[in-house]
């Protein structure tokens, strides 16, 4: 089978900046100091005496070439399909970038008095309104800086609510139930909030095991459930209402991990399902750029009942249409971050909801699900699909058909790089052996989906006819597979002079 590569990799050489440094080179110019120099109040023993030795000395063009060369070693959404499951790598509009750089926002100090920051507070307020409508959960804080931070916030809210409701008896209610398919951040966030974790099994169908849930809830110490919906297998938890009822009857609350909201926006709302609190990922569903690992933004949305526990300050609108900060929230879990959160991401997300409009938000969801369905249908004969259910915005396959020839998920992912695609999420969720979680998002058209499917099919053929080719992939990248085990045994975490 002949294949047209989606992209090819170029690979200029480039050292570390420290290896490029030349004594005496500079790449900046400041105005000359325009005040008379005086003896500072800082005594000599409090001052640096190392002259910052080792820090780079380079020119501006050195810096530009350094970073531009390094940039060519990266794959990116703008190069092509980036089907990382659970990560929602959708197009990051340049318009949103322009909005975030408007001087009235970019130059605004976070401790500006409220009356001098009305436009900035209005942005927060309006985005809050949109997200509350999208989730069906009216209480909202945009302060958390990322998904895991939003999880921590949500779980601390549950804890504060239970402590207030049950008093001393709440100390017996310290178990958080988490499905075996959950993101690792879920148990880590539960732990930060002082909960121990019990794992709920998934059924053969790939859904939460209701009987196991009932059994765990019968013990009485259940504080709540953390559930991703659609779950990390890409399946909608169709019993979600019943699941919430079981947890509520046991005296617990339901937290939803909103990582997969790209399957639901405009279609169904967590608040209508019985969910009490959710976090969203503005850097997934609302298209703010991932930036090679952040910044994110993890708004936390909750029911009216939980609203008093949200972080302070709350951003409120008064009857005269001015916006303000409300610190008077005695039940609040406290502040989770200095200032107001990752504000620049809020600007971009509001730009996203406004440019899409209510119709466009729904259409994006439809396209995201349609694309995942199309990939599911396209690969069904070549790869093992462990769950029969119709996937939502992402679909999981395994390497079961390929392992006979010694080809595993990692090898398939690496070979996909040779075809010019970023690989899918691999070995997650943990409950699926050799998992390949594919999320195309709405930002690819049929032509690119066909190209991706053709690449995957071609790899399936190669795995049988020429497994070595797959096992040694990738072949045309700047570096081959790196020895990660050796790197962890004797970690080198910084440059040092020879």
């Amino acid at each position: 089978m002949t294949i047209t590569k989606a992209t090819t990799h170029i690979s200029p050489n480039e050292q570390l900046i420290f290896e490029r440094s030349q004594t005496g080179r500079i790449g900046y110019r400041l105005p000359a100091l325009d005040v008379d120099e005086v003896e500072l109040s800082i005594p000599n023993e409090f001052r640096r005496d190392d002259d910052l030795e080792g820090m780079p000395e380079v020119s501006e063009v050195d810096v530009i070439r350094h970073f531009v060369r390094m940039s060519t070693w990266n794959y990116s959404i703008d190069l092509g399909m980036y089907p990382l499951g659970s990560c929602t790598m959708k197009y990051n509009s340049r318009l949103n970038e322009k909005v975030a750089r408007i001087a009235g926002f970019a130059n605004l100090h976070p401790l500006t008095e409220e009356h001098d920051a009305q436009g900035a507070l209005q942005v927060i307020y309006e985005l809050q309104q949109h997200l509350a409508e999208i989730t069906g959960l009216p209480g909202i804080s945009l302060q958390p800086a990322a998904g895991a931070h939003g999880e921590m916030t949500g779980i601390m809210i549950i804890r504060a609510f239970l402590d207030a409701r049950d008093g001393a008896a709440a100390s017996h209610r310290r178990t958080m139930l988490i499905p075996d398919s959950a993101h690792g951040t879920n148990p880590a966030s539960a732990h930060l909030s002082g909960f121990s974790v019990k794992t709920i099994r998934s059924t053969a169908e790939g859904l939460t095991d209701l009987d196991h849930l009932r059994e765990l809830c019968a013990h009485g110490e259940v504080a709540g459930l953390m559930l991703t919906n659609p779950n990390t297998l890409g399946l909608f938890e169709r019993n979600i209402k019943q699941i919430c009822e079981i947890v509520h009857e046991a005296g617990g609350l339901v937290y939803m991990d909103g990582a997969n909201m790209n399957a639901l926006v405009g279609i169904a709302r967590p608040g209508d399902m019985g969910v009490d609190v959710i976090h969203l990922n503005l850097h997934k569903t609302f298209s703010t750029p991932h930036g090679g690992g952040g910044p994110g933004s993890g708004p936390c949305c909750c029911t009216k009942e939980l609203e008093p526990y949200l972080p302070v300050p709350r951003i409120v609108k008064s009857s005269d249409s001015t916006y303000g900060l409300d610190y008077d929230q005695p039940k609040s879990i406290g502040r989770v971050k200095a200032f107001f959160g990752n504000y620049g991401m809020m600007l971009r997300a509001l730009s996203y909801t406004l440019t899409h409009g209510n119709d466009g938000l729904r259409e994006a969801t439809e396209a995201a699900v349609l694309n995942a369905r199309y990939v599911a249908a396209g690969l069904i004969e070549d790869y093992d699909k462990p769950f029969a259910g119709a996937p939502m915005h992402e679909v999981v396959f395994t390497d079961k058909k390929q392992t006979r020839k010694g080809v595993h998920t990692l090898d398939i992912a690496k070979r996909l790089i040779d075809y010019g695609f970023h690989p899918m999420t691999i070995y997650f969720p943990l409950i699926v052996q050799g998992a390949m979680l594919i999320e195309p998002t709405e930002s690819v058209g049929r032509q690119e989906l066909d190209q991706f499917i053709a690449a995957m099919k071609s790899i399936a053929v190669e795995a049988v006819e020429n497994p070595e080719l797959v096992l040694n992939a990738p072949h045309d990248t700047r570096v081959g597979r790196l020895d990660e085990a050796a790197a962890a045994r004797k970690p080198i975490l910084r440059w040092k002079p020879e």
Partner: protein, 433 residues
């Protein structure tokens, strides 16, 4: 495509969602705007932020510094800003090498041995440092002073409230504005860490070496927090003073104010604690052909492997802002960081000396300062500052009564290399008028 899959309509895509859970109406959010309408709307909202256009002397955890033009150009490269966390090292070497350089620069500036790939910001980095000190020492008390940024203290309190850690606060010295003496005196055998901000919230530089000695004598760690990272261009590094964990807000390095975020938390420690560090780490690695590359490493500390036993729940961090700091630090380089810091300190000294001579004004604290200092005015600072903002177009500082009601006349003034002498003279003039 629907046809190809035998689906009658887009509605059929959602058959797995029970009918009673489906939204049967359009979302109650606005209809779509065109690019022209959208930009107009945001420009109008931006124009309602009077504070953004003024001559400013505000600091308090967020600082106006010169940002070389190339920083935003590099950030805007698709290959950086539209990439994910570098899980596939073969096609993420750009991001990975940047982080390796970032870690190195953070080590050089802080005088520490190991730095991570970034935290959300300075405040959350500090809270994570306190949690880490508990893991390292197995002790449950942290001591900080009231001269720490009040919002940072709030964040620590939120993070430790369920971790069995008690945060004890000691008062700062009313004469010097410093807190190292009180902190050193408050340590006992239960103390996991002394937490000190330097320069502190009032801008005063603390005696870190004395604190390190005091902490180590009792088997505790010294955590140093820095909100004005530019001070590292002039002040002795916390590492050289004996600190065990250093956290900082990196916003001063090439990141716009942007109403408080996104910023970037710096986190550095000693090599012996590398396996207790929260967040991501990038390390050097080699392929079969012996080519050097970089990978995410020591992942067994992290949530995706250790789950509830992880050192932190952090996953997404502040990659792009760490890139901004890296481009900034490499552009300014060894000389530029020192020159910018020198100018900050000199201009602040110029302003402070002149303000001290004004009728009705005083500089209440005697401790050494870098580029921020407290001014005690003749009347209520909130009113004075509001008036100067509105009438003179100058944000002359931050009223401390917003955080400390018992200091009605005090305000915090910050001067950086971006403030020309003309601006400083104007500040002095309007304060005196």
């Amino acid at each position: 495509m629907l046809e190809a899959m035998g689906l009658g309509s887009a509605e059929a895509l959602f058959d797995s969602i029970p009918g009673d859970l489906r939204l049967k109406r359009p979302l109650n959010t606005p209809a779509a705007l065109s690019e022209i309408e959208l930009l107009d709307r945001f420009e109008q909202m931006g124009a309602r932020n009077a504070g953004a256009g003024r001559i400013s002397f505000m600091g308090g955890g967020a600082y106006s510094h010169y940002i070389p033009t190339i920083v935003d150009h590099i950030l805007s490269r698709s290959e950086f800003f539209t990439a994910y966390t570098p899980y596939q090292p073969e096609i993420s070497q750009g991001t990975l090498q940047v982080i390796f350089e970032f870690q190195t620069l953070v080590c050089q500036l802080t005088g520490m041995e190991v730095a991570n790939a970034s935290m959300y910001d300075g405040s959350t980095a500090l809270a994570e440092a306190v949690l880490m000190a508990e893991r390292v020492t197995k002790r449950s008390k942290a001591v900080a002073s009231t001269a720490t940024h009040p919002q940072y203290l709030e964040v620590i309190n939120t993070y430790v409230q369920h971790a069995g850690i008690h945060l004890e606060l000691v008062p700062f010295d009313e004469k010097t504005g410093q807190s190292w003496q009180a902190l050193a005196g408050a340590i006992d055998d239960e103390t996991a860490a002394l937490v000190v901000q330097s320069p502190n919230f009032f801008g005063c530089v603390e005696d870190l070496s004395a604190l390190a000695d005091a902490a180590h004598a009792k088997g505790a760690l010294l955590i140093v927090a820095i909100t004005e990272a530019m001070s590292l261009g002039l002040l002795k590094s916390p590492g050289a003073c004996g600190a065990d964990i250093v956290v900082a807000e990196g916003q001063s390095f090439g990141v716009p104010l942007s109403f408080g975020g996104p910023y970037v938390g710096l986190f550095a420690t000693r090599e012996k604690y590398a396996r207790q560090i929260p967040g991501r780490l990038v390390g050097e690695a080699y392929d079969k052909k012996g080519r050097r590359g970089f990978v995410l490493t020591l992942a067994t500390r992290e949530q995706h492997i250790r789950r509830e036993k992880a050192t932190s729940n952090i996953c997404t961090n502040e990659g792009l802002i760490a890139l901004a700091a890296t481009v900034y630090l490499e552009t300014m380089g060894r000389r530029g960081v020192q020159e910018a810091a020198h100018q900050c300190a000199q201009k602040a000294a110029y302003a402070a000396r002149a303000i001290a001579k004004l009728n009705g004004y005083a500089i209440p604290f005697t401790g050494p300062y870098f580029n921020e200092f407290v001014v005690r005015g003749p009347g209520r600072a909130v009113e004075l500052l509001a008036r100067l903002g509105k009438e003179k177009g100058i944000d002359a500082g931050i009223a401390l009564s917003r955080f400390m009601p018992d200091r009605p006349n005090d305000f915090l003034v910050c001067v950086t290399e971006t403030n020309s002498r003309e601006q400083i003279d104007r500040l002095i003039q309007v304060l005196g008028s």
